[in-house]
């Protein structure tokens, strides 16, 4: 199936709206998703030849509804319809704007009752419109495993008695935070992927950016949505520079800045600058602001560390988290010297959330190396290499340790 790029973009934009409309009418089910998938397939074949219809969304909803009712009718003969579709209260009176359907669907997929892996899978399936096979491939699990995860997630949502409505105002901000976290998880899954067998996972980062961009359009005044989008754009702008052709990791300070994606940086910087000026500050905005400072430095040596340190201090107050403390320690070391950073790291030694985490050892090794304590740095790099569960990180850390032995 080859649809032109324009049709492809339009279809991906409309997919969650069409699914939302069907779910509103018929309840959420596999049959619904299949019907939408079929309608999208039909459109991708017909539109490039016959031209895009005047009302593409209406066209898709009509076709998908027809497929769904056809399917239900034929299945009814074989087994009871209730097994396939559960009916949510249909909402015929309210004229709901299509944007709300997409949002409602997102909130539903990121239901707090679900585990993060299930939220991620369901979001990619229902909102992202990826096939179960694609999602399974991206997460390197068998398709049957992913299919079960998605179907269990739907049952879970059904069991909570959730209706297809936006969460009540009182829950809105908490629920929104879960949605943003799920989008960030999807992004990180893709961003951490390297070359080789994981190549297709890179698409997850692109997909996360697309979904966050869509959210930003739906909620343009939410500072954290904008902050997350800016953070993703700025992080992703370094993609080409962060690994070598053989898959080895290149730390930020050593990256070839000519490989950074200037368009993504410009967009991210503009977005975060304008957001910081008008919104209530939040953790994603702060992380984006820090990423922006890195992006704007012409070279690693010219990085504005005092400003980064100031931002980490705010972030640490606003959203205390040992991972933030780790990064804070690096910034502190760059401004006040390695010992100050090492002292801050020492406060994490008794923190069970991070005491055995390889990044604590890795940061400690880096600061010990900065301080000229070669023997200690070597030991810490080795400890970090033993603890990481990532092969490229392990190779990087072992290479650092080996270099210090020479």
């Amino acid at each position: 199936v080859t649809a032109s790029a324009g049709t492809e973009d339009l279809l991906r934009e409309l997919a969650p709206q069409v699914l939302g409309a069907l779910v509103r009418r018929y309840g959420h089910s596999d049959a619904c998703e299949d019907a939408v998938q079929e309608a999208l397939l039909a459109a991708s074949q017909q539109w490039p030849q016959d031209g895009t219809p005047d009302h593409p969304r209406g066209w898709l909803i009509t076709v998908a509804s027809r497929r769904l009712t056809d399917q239900l009718r034929s299945e009814e003969a074989r087994r009871r319809r209730e097994e396939t579709v559960y009916n949510l209260e249909p909402d015929h009176d309210a004229e709901v704007p299509e944007a709300d359907d997409t949002l409602t669907l997102l909130f539903m997929c990121c239901h707090p009752e679900l585990s993060p892996p299930s939220q991620v899978a369901l979001t990619l399936r229902a909102v992202g419109g990826l096939t179960t096979a694609q999602i399974a491939k991206a997460f390197l699990v068998p398709e049957a495993t992913m299919a079960q995860r998605i179907s269990r997630a739907k049952q879970r949502i059904k069991a909570t008695g959730a209706t297809f409505q936006l969460p009540p105002d009182a829950e809105r901000s908490d629920r929104l935070r879960v949605v943003l976290q799920v989008l960030y998880l999807i992004f990180n899954e893709g961003y951490t992927a390297t070359s080789g067998p994981d190549l297709q996972r890179v698409e997850l980062a692109t997909e996360a950016i697309r979904l966050t961009r869509m959210m930003h359009r739906l909620l343009p005044h939410d500072g954290e949505v904008a902050g997350l989008l800016a953070l993703m754009l700025l992080t992703d702008s370094r993609r080409a520079a962060r690994t070598r052709a053989d898959g080895t990791l290149v730390p930020l300070a050593d990256q070839d800045r000519d490989l950074w994606d200037r368009a993504a940086i410009a967009e991210g910087v503009e977005l975060i600058t304008e957001t910081l000026a008008r919104s209530t500050i939040g953790p994603y905005q702060l992380q984006a602001a820090i990423a922006a400072i890195h992006s704007e430095a012409p070279s690693a040596d010219e990085t504005d560390w005092p400003q980064i340190l100031a931002l980490y201090r705010v972030l640490e107050r606003l959203a205390p988290n040992p991972m933030v403390t780790l990064n804070h320690a690096v910034a502190l070391a760059m401004v006040e010297g390695p010992q100050a950073g090492l002292d801050l790291l020492a406060t994490l030694d008794d923190d069970s959330r991070v005491a055995r985490h390889h990044r604590l050892d890795a940061v400690r090794a880096h600061l010990q190396e900065m301080a000229g304590d070669v023997a200690a740095a070597r030991t810490s790099y080795r400890a970090a290499a033993r603890r990481t569960t990532s092969l490229p990180e392990q190779r990087y850390l072992e290479a650092k340790a080996a270099r210090l032995s020479g």
Binding site: P116, A121, V141, S151, R152, H357, T389, Q394
Partner: protein
């Protein structure tokens, strides 16, 4: 705030773990047919819900190590010997590969494997081909 304070283990949404079932040949020899059947039934009871939850990636039961051959290549010459690499009364009898949200969850799953009550189940993370810039 709670959602931000959670530490991402490796920035992963889910991680794979190998649950290694170690058995002891002496313990095994001392078990009655009913007890052995109970262990088998325990595995059925364990795998079913795991498959349904979408956490089961794969599994296998391994033949007794007396069926093993061990291959070592020295100076380009393969040497094949009968028997396991290391003779021991404790050996790997089977494994599950699970894909779950946390190490805690992997530990909970290991505790449900019947052999955990007889000998022990070792939980080890599977390494990934992706990493974060340092």
């Amino acid at each position: 705030m709670s959602s931000h304070t959670r530490v991402p283990a490796g920035q992963e949404t889910a991680m794979k773990y190998l649950l290694m079932i170690t058995v002891n040949s002496d313990t095994l020899a001392a078990m009655s047919a009913d007890e052995l059947r109970a262990v088998d039934a325990g595995h059925e009871a364990f795998a079913g819900p795991l498959r349904e939850s979408g956490e089961l990636v794969g599994f296998a039961a391994l033949a007794d190590p007396s069926n093993s051959t061990t291959v070592a290549v020295r100076d380009g010459v393969p040497a094949v010997t009968d028997g396991p690499y290391a003779e021991s009364t404790e050996f790997l009898a089977g494994f599950y590969v699970v894909d779950c949200e946390s190490a805690e969850r992997a530990g909970e799953l290991a505790a449900l494997i019947p052999d955990a009550r007889l000998t022990a189940v070792e939980v080890r993370p599977v390494m990934v081909e992706s990493g974060l810039e340092m």
